[in-house]
Every structure is written in C-alpha cells, then in structure tokens.
Assembly symmetry: D2
Homo-oligomer: 239 residues x 4
C-alpha cells in the first residue's frame, strides 16, 4: 500500500522546540510509528511545502492509496493546482487523513465546503478522546478513552459539515469539547480527520494515536478507484 | 425577506423552445409562481450571467436571505470571486436553493466538495418524487408523491455527499432513481437542492414544484447571520 | 397546544431534599417555568406513576401535542399497555420530550430499540452543554454554551442509536462528555432527549434549560397526525 | 463463523407454489447459496416457527455471530422472550440480517422502535436496486444496479428510522421506490435489512442477492461482544 505523507516541514526544519520534539520531522515520526505497529508492507513517500509541486503529481496521486496531510502556518503557499488534483483523486477513491492543523488546509476546506475554523489555545493541556462507536475499525485495539498527555486545545464550534461517522469526541481540561475524530465521505473517497499533533508536543509518540492512524490508513484505503467522477449521458434503462 | 435569483438566462433570451416555455425567463417564472402562492412580502432581485459581476456584490449578499441558483451550460463563465463570496455568505448563514442543472455550478460544487455529477438523458419523461419525510417543512401542503409531467432525467450515481436531510427520491419511467430533493448544512447556512427545471419543460408552472420552492425559501432562510466563520484564539474556560 | 407531563412523583411527594428542591413536584416546576417564558397558550395535563393508568388513555394521547416524560426509580412499574399506546402515538405524530433519568424509561427504550444505558455518578458537579448546531430551533435565544450549575453526571457510552440531530454535547468537570441533547425521528413523531433534571438539583430553575424545553415543545409538536402507521395493500402506480 | 437462520417455514412446508420454488425451505436455499460463493467455513444452524423456542436459547445466541431472519404471516406467534433475548444480543454485538417480510417481525420492530410498515402489492414485477454507495463492503463484487427478475413490490412510505447507512434504493416497474437495502446500528450490533425474498419467487437463486447476503454476513458479524449493555455507576475521571 502506497502512503504519501505531506508535511509542511517548516517548524521542525530549523532549531527550536519543534525540531527538539521531532528531529527528523513529523512525517518521519508518523511513518516510523506506523511501521512499528503494522508489520504489513506500507510504502512511504514524503512531500514537504518546499518540494510539493514536484512530488505531488497526478501520476503519484494515482499510485497513492492514502495521503496523510499535516500543515500549519503555510497553507496559503500550497499550490492550487495540486489541491485541485488531490480533491479529484479523493473523489475518485483515494483515501485522505488530515491531521491537527491540517483542518484549515486548502485541501480539507475544499473537500468540506466550509471554512473549517476552530476555537483554540495552546497550553499543552491534557485531552481525553471518548470513543462513541467502539466497533469502528478505526479504534480497533484502542482503549476507551484515549488519553492525550498534552495538546493544543481545539474546540467547538468546528465549522465543518456534520460528520458521516462521528467516532470520537475530545474532552479538554480547560472546559471545552471537540469533534476531532470523524470520517467524511466525498465521492468514492473517505477522509479521516484526527486532531492530535501539535509540532512541539509528543502526540505522535503516543501509541494509541499511532494505532488510530494505522487503523485509519486501512479504513480509508480505496475499495475501488475510478478515472473520473463526472456527469454522463446515458440511455433510459427501460425501452 | 430578500430573495436573489441567479438565472444564467442564455437559453430563454433568444428565440426557441426555451423562450417559448419561459418567455420572461426562468427567474421570472419562479418569482411569479412563488409570489402567487405566498402572499407574504418576498422582495426579489435578479442576476444573470451577463450582469452577475455587478449585481452579486458583497453588500447585496449580506442583504440577501435566500439565493436561488439556476445555471446550465455557462457554469465556467461565472466569476470565481463571486463564487467565493457566495460560499462565505452561505457559511455565515445565507440560505441557498440550487435548482436542476445548477448541480454542476461552481457554487454547488464548492459547497459540496465533490464533482456533483449525474447520469442524465433528455426525453421529457415523467418523474414521480416520493417524499420520505412527510413532516418536513419543505413538503408542507404537498401531496405525496409529487408528479412531474415531463423532465430531463437525472439519475444516480449523483456524486454528492450523503445528504443531511434526504427529503425525497425521484422515480423515473425510464428505470432510474435520483436523490434530487435534499438539504445540506454548511456552516450556519442551509442548502436545498431540487432537480426539476429543464429550460424547455413546464416544471416551474407545476404548483407542487413551486410550493416546494416557496417552502424551501422559508426553510433555508437564515436563523442567525454572522460576519465571519473562522478560527479564533480563545482562553480556557476553566481556570 | 396540549402538553401532557408525566412525572413519576415519588421523590418529591415525601419530605426530603427532592421535596425541598421541587415542593410542588418536577412537573409543576417545568410547567410553571415554561409558562413564564412562553406567553402563548400551552395547556398542561399531569400524570404521575400513581394515576398514569387512568390519565394516559388513548383519547388523552390523541389530544396531546407533546408528552414530556420524567421518571427515575420506578420505570418498571409503568404499565406496558400505556407504553405501547405512547409509542404508537409517537409513530403517528405526537411529540415526545424525555428528560434526565427518563433515558431508561420503557417508553424511551422501546422507541430507541436499545438499552439506553449511561455511565453515571452523583456529585452535583457543574456541566457545560456545547451547542453544535446554533441554528437549530431548539436553541433559539440560548447562549452557547449552556452552563449547568450542578447536575448528576451522565456520561458516554450512552447506548442509543446515532441521533438524527445531535444538537449539543455536555462537558463535565469530572472528565466525561455526554450526548445529552439530541433529536430522534420515529415515524411521524419527533423525540427530544435532554439530560438535565436530577430531582435534588436546581436545573429546572435554570432559565436556559427551561428555554430549551419550551423551544423543544414547539419543535417536536406534530406537523401532521395520522391514525395508523402500518402496512397497506396498494395498486401499482403505473398500469 | 456461526450463522443461525430463522425461517418461519410455514409456506414451504406444505405443497404449493412456495414449496415448488424452495423445496427444502428458504433457510436451505440461503445457506446453500451462500456456502457456494463463500468457500470460508460458515457453520449454519436453523430454527423454524415450530421449534424456535427450543433452538433460539441464550446459549445459542451467545455463540451466534449472525442471525438471519425470514418470517411472514406468523410474526405474532414468535415468543416474546425469544425476541427480548435477540434484541439484547444485538445490543451486545450479534449481527442481524432481516429479509423481506421480516420487516414486520417483532424482532425488527423492537429494534427499530417503529411499526416498520410498507406499502405493497404482489404482482411479481421486476425491480432494480440502485446502489448509492459503491464502496460499501456489502456490495463488493456486485454490479450496479442489481436486477431483480420478479418480486413482491415493497414501497415507501417505509416507517423505519432514517437508516444509518442507506446502501441501495429499489426502483419498481409499477412506479414506486423503496429503501430496502440499509444498515442500522443498535448498541454494538449492526442490522442489515434487505427486501428481496418472496416465498414463491426466485430471488434466493439470484447470484447478486446471495452475494449481498454473504457480504452482509461478514459486515454485520461482531467486532466485539460484551455481556451487558446497561447503566453503570462510575467514579469521576478527574479527582
């Protein structure tokens, strides 16, 4: 299975707390974590803000089963044509996992049809994700609730459409809640949004978080893949 | 209540079967029909492809309670900035009604996050809309099923997200079905898609169709209206 | 509009903290609260565990627009035939509001098709209800979030079906969340479940709670009412 | 995987068109069909109206992964205690497939919380099931649409709750449509309703119908199984 991880890679590429936390980048932390718990062959490709125009081509997307997206302060620098291709490929069946601040990425907003805004503050507070559907494949092998040691607090109102599958809701010590673990269907593609992952906090070393991401890779992977999802002139079925 | 109707107005502006059917344009047929059955004061403004850049301004949108959209072959000529403003105002609470071939408009596609393709043929076949939720405000006073004398057949697969409110399903003589009467929520705005309305066929003279559009105007009209729907830095609620 | 309130009325009918809190009974606290903020004519009838077999007759139910249900420790003593009639009338269009510990009532369980269990503890902790859909008629005029001074904590997993309309989620000081503000559709009837209302705590004096109940009365009131909702032999529509 | 098939077995147990169509009973037609296309080891047990009190015990249900239910004219003779146990086991994770006229069985109605009525006529008309979600595991390997040679027509209004997963909609030659291919979640259990299967018509020899039933067995099979789904006194998570 071909996994393409886009990581903006601005924070961790220079000295500072993000680099201290994820010295090889968030993309490597995710792929290393997932590879450890999933002995099956996942093949990873990486794109960053810097090289994304070259790496994320139509051909690469057509070969990609699941695209994982992490971005933060440079959403506006992502190429519109790349965004358009990604949305088309999701419609045609490619899986997509959007992490943390990717909620405001062009890709996620284009697929949701909304602003995808959140209320937020950064205090490194603990969070607790309560699983609403314990039979969902995405939470297989995961204890309920999922304890998050320290995170950026993302809170409602989260201006997204009503999720097709609302898997978990996060409780925050500060007094908020968040629908940060949901699946949306767009065309033949499935999109999983999952909120943990601030660049200076250790969520991608949390085994439950990584397990959820691994489960999600398998869940959003395409069942079928088509070439175009458009209008067709047809003949009546009854004659 | 301020209603803004966008009608592409290419077909009916020149001699031919569309002009024969709707001599004053589809926009006028809709506003005249709705005004007749709804004695309440609805105030109508009209935009066409030709003048939409001038008419559909931010100020006008902010004063608009419900925008009705009919377009067909010239979707690509609609201004991207106008589309962007409309999507923002829907998110901020403005109601939207998308009719017939508006399913492939830039506006609807941007709000759905999908291609919004349909299977279709044009035979003027009868259709029959079966109402699934007879208590929905949109079908108040409407007989179940709604008989459509002659229409362009729109059929599944319809590549839209799962509707938030699936109000009716259309049966076609030719052997197809269509989810052509649905509500979607985007931010604070409600969107109603309704499939009748081919430019050479008399659906906008059908009292049940007009009654549905009138009900929908009242249903998608804003409950509240905000200025922006974006992310906000907040303080923790518990201290 | 005819409102029928069922209150078990075991706790408050004898001296103790429940009677101290609601001296005239929970049913009177609700009707008095709602009457104060809704100047429209709501006509109230009351039933208790003791007299419910006599009061809740088929005739009374047929005249009832909305039934409000509060019960706690004596669910098992409610008459099965009364439960059956209520479920039929909900299917035929009657509105139903289930409050607090009514989640385990025979009526609610029969309509949900599940056990409707919750996790719970009684510490009088504060709760905070975050509104997910601020345009919903049930939260008209209500500040987001709704602050609950002191309540019995009800927490997930709440073994109900996925709500048709998930209006609010409650955050608890103790570390839990709860889907305690939801609408379910059953046949032509709408059911609103709302969790505040422990018998020794002041939630029914909270203006926001009462406002929500009043809004809900109007929201679940029947749009249409039928006599039976059963299978019918019909003729084909096409001949 | 242990599959328990309940077949009323009144029609086919006596000479006539039902016996001519399904000489060994509908239960055997289903198990033989499924066994042929699914080489994996499915182990079948059978219950009929006559012996269901003896066969469908708590112990058997606890060992059952998926219960398949076919009943028609004798729903009222099914034992209430058996129904209660089945509903509890569905809540605790057991899968359930309800076929054709099982829509009015005590089991299905108890789990739906509604009357589950349909409009119907028996003309042996062809039907065509349009698949709305082509990526759903239940339609793996199945062509869209599924052509049904001859069936009893079941039509809307179908008085069930809004399906959690609306997989297909049936078009009928006679002019009707039907939501006859849906999944409902109840507690930890999944329920699949599928409308083909009149006792005198050959739907259970239709490879696509059997393929759907086989896929559904795998889809509704329990992910986890618990002992009770009830309310629990807990301690606050934060201290």
């Amino acid at each position: 299975m071909n996994i393409l991880i886009y990581n903006e890679f601005v924070h961790e590429s220079q000295p500072g707390p993000a680099q201290d936390m994820y010295p090889r980048g968030i993309h490597m932390a995710i792929s290393e974590g997932v590879s450890k718990i999933d002995p099956e062959a996942l093949s990873f490709t990486y794109a960053t803000l810097e090289n994304h125009r070259d790496v994320i081509t139509r051909d690469v997307l057509k070969q990609t089963h699941v695209l994982i997206w992490w971005g933060h302060m440079r959403h506006h620098l992502v190429d519109d044509e790349v965004v358009r291709m990604i949305c088309e490929e999701v419609g045609a069946g490619m899986g997509l996992i959007v992490l943390h601040s990717g909620h405001e990425s062009k890709v996620f907003r284009a697929l949701m049809g909304t602003r995808c805004g959140v209320e937020w503050y950064e205090k490194g507070d603990p969070g607790r994700i309560w699983i609403l559907d314990q039979t969902h494949p995405i939470v297989k092998g995961v204890e309920n609730p999922i304890e998050i040691e320290a995170e950026e607090t993302y809170a409602e109102p989260f201006t997204v459409p009503v999720p097709d599958e609302l898997i978990g809701i996060t409780w925050w010590k500060g007094g908020e809640i968040f629908r940060g673990m949901s699946v949306y269907h767009r065309g033949l593609g499935k999109i999983f949004y999952f909120h943990p992952g601030h660049e200076t906090l250790p969520s991608y070393y949390n085994p439950a978080v990584i397990r959820v991401i691994d489960n999600a890779i398998h869940y959003v992977a395409p069942v079928q893949r088509v070439d175009e999802v458009t209008s067709h002139h047809i003949e009546p079925h009854e004659k």
